[in-house]
């Protein structure tokens, strides 16, 4: 691979990161996609847009989120100094709201009067329903039936927030199917509707736009770690569903060549079983949901349903910029099984008093694997991108404990 001068210049004007990304959508949507792109390009250059964004981040979301030194886990692992970026402390309990605030501000700028979203774990659905309540905009959330069952607390939260939840039974009733259905809604409601996509995927400009909103995470980390340790991190670790929390942490550091960057995919029951969501580890490039990226698929190009204990990681694709960073080797991508994530979930809860969401529990499981072998002055930052309240029922069920809901 040729060494690039910068890893932060993408995408190009057509929305491509190398061969990935792009705008693979039906013609009906194309004018709308171009309109979103134009509006975002204008907003991006408008200081007033970012003033409002950062004001909402501060007063509504509660940013900056703390950068917390996980002392007991660091001692337990016996190596690298482990910090958590506490995005689970954001309003609504995950990083997802950084993005939904950004997109709702754009939707308002464009004069859109209806919002749709897809959701897996329900965190993006909750974050979307929340900003729709805040700005008094009707909200429809598409959610797979399997996910509705395993993330019931979030379903109720969305309903309380006034959103309409549309159950999707196609496929395995998970995130991919919800995204198909949201796109179908959008095609049918092009005039008034803004589609708030929940991760760094979809047609251009979404991967770049969502990344830009989530980059608040990495930018804060740089400042906060400088304050705490007087220097940059040595490594960054984040879990990957579509890849938005990871991209938010990684992107500001991509050109810091001495920072090791690791993305953690869901290995489900194990890569060898075929039941997983590790698109980079076990998939190949293809086209779905508006972009070219690594996908889990058959030899005939049919998309496979992934499996993960974590609804938020249960997606057979990944954001196109991650595919590009995988091919050029800037970011390492690894995977962690359901079981390993579940162990990390319990470990973190007991040792730090933080109940992590099952998604960042994957990142922590990888931290657990590598931290012990690293020197004590190695600074590792893991994105604690969500809290586990939404998962306690599902985890109880897996651990064989009956809770009355």
């Amino acid at each position: 691979m040729t060494k690039l001068n910068t890893y932060r210049a993408g995408p190009d004007e057509a929305g491509h990161f190398g061969i990935y990304g792009g705008r693979f959508v039906a013609e009906t949507l194309m004018p709308l996609i171009l309109e979103v792109e134009k509006a975002y390009t204008e907003a991006k250059d408008d200081p007033a847009f970012w003033d409002e964004f950062h004001s909402q981040m501060k007063h509504y979301v509660g940013r900056p989120s703390p950068l917390y030194f996980a002392r007991r886990l660091t001692e337990h692992f016996g190596g690298a100094k482990v910090y958590f970026k506490r995005d689970e402390l954001n309003h609504t309990g995950a990083h997802k709201i950084n993005n939904t605030i950004g997109q709702i501000l754009l939707a308002r700028r464009m004069g859109k009067t209806r919002v749709i979203a897809e959701t897996g774990a329900g965190q993006h659905g909750v974050a979307t329903a929340t900003v729709c309540a805040l700005f008094d905009i009707p909200c429809v959330v598409y959610m797979g039936e399997t996910d509705i069952e395993r993330q019931s607390p979030n379903v109720f939260r969305m309903k309380l927030l006034g959103a309409d939840i549309v159950p999707v039974s196609a496929g395995t009733g998970t995130l991919k199917d919800a995204m198909n259905e949201a796109l179908r809604d959008w095609v049918a409601n092009v005039d008034d509707t803004f589609y708030i996509i929940g991760t760094v995927a979809g047609p251009h400009p979404y991967p770049a736009m969502v990344r830009d909103f989530q980059a608040v995470i990495g930018n804060e980390v740089r400042e906060q770690l400088h304050e705490a340790e007087g220097r940059k991190p040595d490594s960054l670790v984040a879990c990957i569903g579509g890849g938005s929390n990871a991209m938010g942490l990684f992107h500001p550091f991509l050109d810091d060549k001495d920072v090791r960057i690791i993305g953690v995919e869901a290995a489900g029951h194990g890569i060898e079983t075929g039941e997983h969501c590790a698109s980079l580890t076990a998939g190949k490039p293809g086209v779905l949901h508006g972009n070219r990226t690594y996908l889990l698929q058959t030899d005939d190009g049919q998309i496979l349903d992934g499996h993960s204990i974590s609804a938020g990681l249960d997606y057979p694709g990944i954001g196109p910029e991650h595919s590009w960073l995988f091919d050029n080797g800037r970011v390492e991508y690894v995977s962690v099984t359901d079981k390993e994530a579940l162990d990390a979930f319990q470990l973190c809860t007991k040792m730090e008093g933080i109940i992590p969401a099952l998604e960042p529990a994957h990142a922590l499981a990888h931290v657990a694997k590598i931290a012990g072998d690293l020197p004590k002055d190695h600074l590792m930052v893991m994105n604690m991108c969500g809290r586990g309240d939404k998962d306690v029922f599902a985890v109880a069920r897996i651990l064989g404990i009956e809770l009355s809901q």
Partner: protein
């Protein structure tokens, strides 16, 4: 204008000579199984289909409504693949060298097969045109070029959202005919208002001399006749695959006579526009 040398060009020229619009039928290859699908495909010209759109089944048909989603999944469940779809076209071509076959679907299976291999195999099988839903002009060149070199027409979708700025971008690469999606929406749902369709077609015709087929939401002989009064062809899809859905046993196996029932509906639809289906001797 269409190329008079191609099957699509010849068919539209013949329709013009007959002073009538054409009937384009959509069915999914391999729905509900290979045997029934073959029976349907071979029977379509005789029943009155002027052009055949054959769906390449895909797991995630984003622009399709419940009917065609189900149709695609039935075919996949019974083992349909892109390769087998091309084999089916080749078989059909041996029996019928006149009726144009346009493959319709999504890009990923083609991308995985490889665009050059696909273009070569499609040409060899006797495919006349391609409609790839998720390849707008912005992304189309990687398949459009090999298809063009193989003599396969690229049929582009235009929609109510395609304005006068957008249409030149679309028609630039179009050949064969233009497909007008008459509603902003997915297949098999709403039906368009005929006055709106007429206005839209007038606008599109300012940009291209290609024939225009209109589809999405057309289900009955009356609707076909109405669309035929303003367009060069009417496309019916969901209503046909619904016949398959309605004639499956509890195990999802086709009941006897499914193909006949579907072809009878095609004959009804064709009758409304004077296409009795006698052209195939």
């Amino acid at each position: 204008m269409t190329n008079p040398e191609t099957r699509i060009g010849k068919r539209f020229a013949a329709l013009k000579a007959e002073r009538r619009a054409g009937l384009v039928t959509f069915v999914t290859a391999g729905d509900p199984d290979m045997e029934t699908s073959r029976e349907i495909l071979f029977g379509l010209p005789g029943a009155g289909a002027d052009l055949i759109e054959l769906g390449m089944p895909f797991s995630d048909p984003m622009a399709d409504g419940p009917s065609i989603q189900a149709s695609s999944l039935r075919a996949l469940k019974n083992g349909m693949t892109l390769k087998k779809t091309l084999d089916l076209v080749a078989e059909f071509r041996n029996a019928d060298n006149d009726t144009p076959v346009v493959l319709m679907g999504y890009y990923n299976p083609i991308y995985i097969l490889g665009v050059d291999a696909f273009a070569a195999e499609a040409q060899a099988a006797g495919v006349d045109g391609l409609i790839i839903v998720d390849l707008p002009p912005e992304e189309v060149d990687e398949l459009w070029k090999p298809a063009r070199d193989a003599g396969i027409d690229f049929i582009f979708l235009t929609a109510p959202t395609s304005d006068d700025a957008r249409l030149p971008v679309i028609v630039k690469r179009a050949s064969g005919f233009i497909y007008y999606v008459s509603i902003t929406g997915i297949t098999g749902t709403r039906s368009a208002d005929i006055a709106d369709v007429e206005t839209a077609l007038k606008r599109i015709r300012k940009h291209t001399g290609l024939p225009i087929a209109v589809g999405f939401g057309i289900k009955t002989p009356e609707q076909v006749a109405e669309i035929a009064s303003v367009a060069d062809a009417a496309v019916v899809g969901s209503a046909l695959v619904d016949v398959i859905a309605a004639n499956l046993d509890p195990d999802g196996k086709p009941e006897k006579g499914v193909a006949e029932k579907l072809l009878a509906l095609v004959a009804d639809l064709a009758a409304g526009i004077g296409g009795a289906g006698e052209k195939v001797a």
